[in-house]
Symmetry: C2
């Protein structure tokens, strides 16, 4: 255990030094590194794929399920995707150094804000090798040092990819310690990393709710948390019928296993007979299991009675809970009580209802007449996302380059002293 602690201290020290020099790195140097890494990956496909094959073989021996194997697997097409994402991130504007709100004060000083990197990020993720490059690219572009800890099943794939990162950094004359990969699979390394507040400025865990909760409970370093998405669509009494059906269907069925999928549909009692029969028919045809409140169950014998647990459940599956509410206040109360603060949408043509919903619903994304499926960094124009925050502190919703930065004050004077 002592040696793991020492390892993290060593990585932390290296990262702090590298992060200091990254602060002043030019946009060009950072972009060159990203493109170098892309080249390295392109030129070392064989090594990467054979390391990945080794991980896959081990995984199959260990009996990993097919979903995990699929996440672990790399092939030429996925490498193309990784290379493409490096190119895209190189093309994004550099958030660092942006100066805003520069204005004069009565004292004569000019004061503004400058966007700056957070420092050193600790990224903890499951056995998905593509995250090694995603996290590298986003941290590097935003001028942050990074310490990466991927899932143990992907260790050989990650090491092979990390060789490309390291070489790409060196070729761009940036410190190879700008990004470091924890090479041990000992879980103690995660514990030490999240405690290392002398070296690490923020932790981003990418994984299921269990992983994120375990990390948060143990962390001394601030954690940008993405817990889960129990997303709601509320069909208001003044909803347009066609929009309501289209949006509610899309929000549930576009993809089941994603955090922005709707898990609970709330319908105003006076809209229920307009929208539910057709929606129930469409969901059923699509194979979605429906679990409803007592009133909802009256609409179809195929609807199972929902239990209390259903309202708090992120199904990530072809299952939907439906509740009929008597007012928008009831809908908002339901969301307050059962939602996870991820994404909620109202369908309404009523100006006052829409305005009230986006004001009072306290979620990272709040929508009017749009599918919750839009809650995504690319759709929002962030270019890329390192995760989605369900926290309120620092950053909410999809976290792009800006979420990896902070703002310091700059003061410009001309010999000004304070009276």
């Amino acid at each position: 255990m002592g040696s793991i602690k020492n390892l993290i201290i060593e990585l932390g020290n290296n990262a702090s030094i590298a992060a200091k020099s990254l602060r002043g790195a030019t946009t060009q140097a950072k972009n060159t590194a990203l493109l170098n890494i892309a080249d390295q990956i392109n030129n070392n496909r064989d090594e990467i794929l054979s390391a990945n094959q080794y991980d896959l073989d081990n995984g199959k021996t260990k009996g990993l399920d097919s979903a995990l194997i699929d996440r672990l697997m790399l092939d030429d097409q996925r490498l193309d995707g990784i290379i493409e994402s490096l190119n895209q991130i190189a093309n994004l504007p550099d958030p660092v150094g942006e100066i805003t709100d520069l204005k004069y004060r009565p004292s004569g000083i000019q004061i503004g804000k400058m966007r700056v990197p957070l420092g050193v990020m600790g990224i903890i993720y499951e056995s998905r090798p593509n995250v090694t490059i995603d996290a590298t690219a986003l941290c590097l572009k935003s001028g942050n040092g990074a310490i990466l800890r991927g899932g143990s099943e992907a260790i050989h794939s990650n090491m092979a990819l990390y060789q490309c990162v390291k070489q790409g950094l060196i070729d761009a004359n940036l410190s190879e310690h700008s990004v470091q990969l924890i090479s041990t699979t000992d879980r103690e390394a995660v514990n030490e990393l999240v405690q290392a507040s002398d070296y690490v400025d923020a932790i981003i865990p990418r994984g299921g709710k269990g992983l994120v909760e375990a990390i948060s409970n143990n962390a001394k370093v601030p954690v940008i948390k993405h817990l889960h998405g129990v997303c709601h669509t509320y069909i208001d009494k003044d909803a347009d019928t066609e929009k309501a059906i289209k949006i509610a269907f899309n929000a549930k069925t576009r993809r089941y296993g994603v955090c922005n999928a709707m898990e609970t549909l709330l319908v105003h009692a006076s809209a229920a007979s307009r929208v539910l029969p057709e929606l129930i028919a469409e969901y059923t045809l699509k194979g979605v299991e429906l679990r409803g409140c007592e009133q909802t169950c009256h609409f179809s014998k195929q609807i199972i009675a929902a239990t209390d647990e259903d309202w708090d459940t992120e199904y990530l599956d072809a299952i939907l809970s439906i509740r009929i509410v008597n007012s928008m206040s009831d809908a908002i109360s339901h969301i307050d009580q059962h939602g996870s603060g991820h994404t909620e949408s109202i369908v309404t043509e009523n100006y006052t209802s829409g305005r009230r919903f986006i004001t009072e619903v306290d979620s990272a994304s709040v929508m009017i007449n749009a599918s919750t499926s839009f809650a995504d960094g690319f759709e929002y124009g962030l270019g890329a996302e390192i995760g989605i925050s369900t926290d309120k502190f620092h950053v909410r919703g999809p976290v792009g380059l800006e979420g990896l930065t902070s703002q310091k004050y700059i003061v410009l004077g001309d010999g000004h002293i304070r009276q």
Copy 2:
């Protein structure tokens, strides 16, 4: 201990419910509450001052030193100041609900950010009754619920002030639980509060470095930390002599006991003979004790040799350490190693040096040709400040109303679904 835990859970529950309704409170209702509280204080001066006298008597019996007694003391003039600050905060623009960056995406959705309260703030402070009202006003105006925990020596003063807060809230038809004061002086309440992540969204400790560190080490809730201010002024080789002397003198001597006072002066070797003789004379005349590096000591026999410890010390007193450096890189390295990330200033006429300094120095406030004394919420135009953050996460530097908020995404569509 169990009952303290239950007390915090009860306060936390009340605060959560109140914070939900504060989210939708109008600017007018919040301002009315602030003005009501001011009236209450004005109308209950006798009760407040007699409660304060009781605290003062207890404090003197306990042998509190004169600085602590001074902070604890209220009189009519200080009550006037408290009332004035309530009026000022009522006059500030409401940060909540501000929508920015609203723009269309290729998908047709319109996306923007809306500024929202963080939720429930826990404010922990020393025996300074005025903070009870300051914290109340800033949390209320920014739409946050607040749980206040003041120093035990001020408990009767705080309870008397809190009666005014409560009545002011009730008279404005806001929940009396919008702001709550912890009425026990048991220290365990602080421990429970900073662990109560189910109810509290952020903690702001206001006090010395020891208090802040103790709280941070124990907290599960995110803490907006103000540790200390080891602030630097760097006189560059291309500094204007007159500006350099004026700024360095002001930064040290304007007030000694404040966090934005300069504690270490860095001087480029080639500027030393231009600026140091006069500065040393002025500091000495003013009674400032000087501790210098070896080269600095050559300038005057009155300069004491600085020890390693000096470079890391926040004197908060009429003491200054001075180091001569051979380059700006050395100055920045010194700041990196010994600074506290609070405020640093460069004095230079050189465009490139100034630009480099504000880019590379990683402090909450970085200045060119201005005294570090300007690092202050009022000077920056924030209207009021609840503290100064030396963290990098969420908010840096003086924390005003905006620092008590976060931004959520809003998405406006017209029946949009994602392909």
